[in-house]
């Protein structure tokens, strides 16, 4: 039995627009285990980043309900002072754009050192420098004693992302949240960074939440996958099950819309319509139903819940049983066409 690291219970993160609150993350429950990579997938606007920011307590103007249990502490209920002790120490975060997420006017060494100083008050200057050099080495940056005094703009994109990672792992956090860590990078750099994250995970035994819209990255990295749509998890399964036996129409649509380097496809699947904006999110019934209008209304549940279909494989709504792609109702469409 995997050891629980983080448990999210009925988390709702809402933003105020004019006079009403709209939930970007809606009554979401999820656990992350030690030494596992949990991928969260979905299009932009589905609430994955809002979820990550909630876990890190980084929302400044959101209303957060529900519990985020880390060890015996509830992050969702912490005061700013308490959460500052956890962030950067137990929880580390890697951001999408390594250029904008580094302070342009601060030396690399100082930026990494800051994470150390904040959580280890008694470290001497020399000790910090030593540790920073160590970290730069660990993330595979050549000539660390030179890079330590450089500024972000002097490094390449891949090197900058390594710096961001070094910052996130400085205090060996137990939980690492990586928010689209390779989206801004070239494909060869991407594979190096992913490999690095994997290596660090094995060294530190941490749990990783990997947020991405790239299903290839998911297939390569994840142990378990949560597919999010409109603030909810619509499908949750281990990675092999999800790719071999995807159930929810949204998951299947996503898989079908990716051009696959291994197979010939003439046409890619297009999900009808667009991800609704926060104010226009359907709040009742199956939220994905509007984008699969050819599926009969009676196929959807009135109050769809995430239900376990087989052990460890959870799906929301019953519509998956009645779903097929419109053109040629062939289930294998994403494999052959």
């Amino acid at each position: 039995m995997a050891e629980k690291l983080l448990e999210i219970k009925n988390l709702t993160t809402s933003f105020r627009i004019k006079d009403d609150y709209y939930a970007a993350v809606d009554n979401l429950s999820l656990t992350v285990n030690k030494n596992e990579v949990l991928a969260i997938v979905g299009e932009s606007g589905c609430g994955k980043s809002a979820l990550a920011f909630s876990i890190m307590g980084l929302h400044t103007r959101a209303k957060i309900d529900g519990d985020i249990l880390y060890k015996d502490k509830n992050i969702a209920k912490m005061s700013p002072a308490e959460i500052n002790k956890v962030r950067g120490k137990d929880l580390g975060m890697i951001f999408q754009d390594p250029l904008t997420s580094l302070n342009p006017l601060m030396e690399i060494g100082d930026q990494i050192g800051e994470t150390l100083i904040l959580h280890n008050k008694n470290l001497s200057k020399n000790k910090i420098r030593e540790k920073v050099l160590d970290l730069l080495n660990k993330v595979g940056i050549p000539r660390p004693e030179y890079v330590i005094n450089q500024f972000p703009h002097e490094l390449s994109g891949g090197m900058r992302q390594r710096v961001v990672i070094a910052m996130a792992i400085a205090n060996e956090p137990e939980l690492l949240i990586a928010d689209e860590p390779t989206t801004a990078l070239d494909v060869t750099i991407q594979s190096q960074i992913l490999e690095l994250i994997n290596k660090l995970k094995n060294e530190m035994n941490s749990g990783i939440i990997l947020i991405t819209h790239d299903l290839g990255v998911v297939a390569e990295m994840a142990d378990r996958v949560a597919v999010m749509y409109a603030g909810q998890i619509v499908e949750l399964a281990d990675v092999k099950t999800l790719f071999e036996n995807p159930l929810h129409p949204y998951t299947r649509s996503l898989l079908n819309s990716v051009p696959n380097a291994n197979e010939e496809q003439d046409k890619l699947h297009v999900i009808q319509g667009i991800v609704p904006s926060l104010q226009n999110l359907p709040r009742e019934g199956c939220r994905f139903s509007a984008r699969i209008p050819w599926v009969d209304e009676t196929a959807h549940e009135a109050h769809p819940e995430l239900k376990e279909v087989t052990p460890g494989h959870l799906v929301r709504c019953t519509c998956y049983k009645h779903f097929s792609f419109p053109d040629d109702s062939k289930e294998e469409q994403h494999v052959l066409s």
Binding site: N84, R87, G88, L102, N103, L105
Partner: protein
């Protein structure tokens, strides 16, 4: 970095030459000359023409310009026609007054702008911010010379707290403490009047920098490291926002020049601004061109200082 500074300084040379030509030609184009005010029944126009010929005022402008520039590079701006003394000496008496006025105004400007800008930027869109932005709008909308007149009337004449003209109480011996204090005393009201109005641009600049920096991604990174709000502000937001303000410094000098012309005239403060206006009304060309040239040089140098400061504080430029 020094390469950049040297190159930037070299660019100044053609700017200065162009400036001197423009100033000289404009002065020439002004109707009348220093003698035209003296035409009267008892003056023989022929005699005036003679004087003009003697002074070389009838030569083509480029010959006059050549003579003038030749003198300027030697520090000789010619003689003032009206004060009957060398222009350099005349300016020498005044220039330090303007320099002191500018320094005190600058200090006051920053003393007002930095705290207000920080409050306004940090608590943007709250009542504190609205109060400060309200003030900057008033500062923006109020003409300096009207505000200065109100200040002079209120604190100088009505309340009598400050002197109403001059730069020092007459009769004090230069170098004594009383002399120094009297100078400061005379500076306060004009400097304050100018600072209160001109500070609005610095406040707004700082506020916008802070509001901008607050929304940058690296601020989220800093929070994710576990930095407290206080540290986020001091280490990341303030530091990054104040650097451009430092670079703005040189341009403040340009602003001060415009201000000092009004202020010195209203407060009867014997500085360069006052001298400039006097020389215009009296058609005292040698003084006029000299003061304008100095003001022009000050603005060009101000821009130079800004660029150099920016190249020092911003690593993204510094590295080149």
């Amino acid at each position: 970095m020094w390469k950049f500074s040297v190159r930037r300084t070299l660019i100044m040379i053609p700017q200065l030459i162009l400036l001197s030509i423009i100033i000289f030609v404009l002065a020439q184009l002004m109707p009348g000359d220093a003698l035209s005010g003296q035409i009267g029944p008892d003056v023989d126009p022929a005699r005036l023409d003679e004087i003009r010929e003697e002074m070389g005022w009838n030569d083509p402008w480029y010959e006059q310009y050549g003579r003038w520039v030749g003198g300027v590079v030697k520090g000789d701006f010619g003689d003032s026609f009206r004060f009957k003394m060398p222009v350099s000496e005349l300016i020498g008496q005044r220039i330090m007054n303007t320099v002191w006025l500018s320094i005190v105004t600058l200090i006051l400007t920053y003393l007002i702008a930095i705290p207000l800008g920080i409050v306004s930027g940090r608590y943007n869109d709250t009542w504190k911010d609205q109060l400060v932005t309200g003030y900057t709008y008033v500062g923006f909308a109020t003409p300096l010379f009207i505000f200065a007149l109100v200040m002079l009337w209120l604190f100088g004449f009505k309340l009598g707290w400050f002197p109403t003209s001059g730069s020092v109480t007459p009769g004090l011996v230069s170098g004594t403490f009383e002399h120094f204090m009297s100078k400061v005393y005379h500076l306060i009201l004009p400097a304050f009047s100018m600072a209160l109005i001109t500070t609005y641009s610095t406040i707004q600049y700082l506020r916008n920098e802070i509001v901008d920096t607050k929304q940058k991604d690296f601020i989220i990174t800093a929070r994710a490291k576990g930095a407290s709000e206080k540290r986020v502000y001091n280490r990341h937001i303030l530091r990054n926002s104040l650097l451009p303000i430092a670079a703005f410094f040189g341009y403040e000098i340009t602003g001060l020049i415009g201000g000092s012309i009004f202020i010195e005239n209203i407060f009867g403060f014997p500085g360069m601004g006052q001298l400039l206006v006097e020389s215009i009304t009296l058609r005292d060309y040698s003084v006029l061109t000299a003061t304008t040239l100095l003001f022009g040089v000050a603005s060009i140098v101000g821009a130079l200082i800004s660029d150099i400061i920016l190249s020092i504080v911003d690593p993204r430029i510094r590295i080149k």
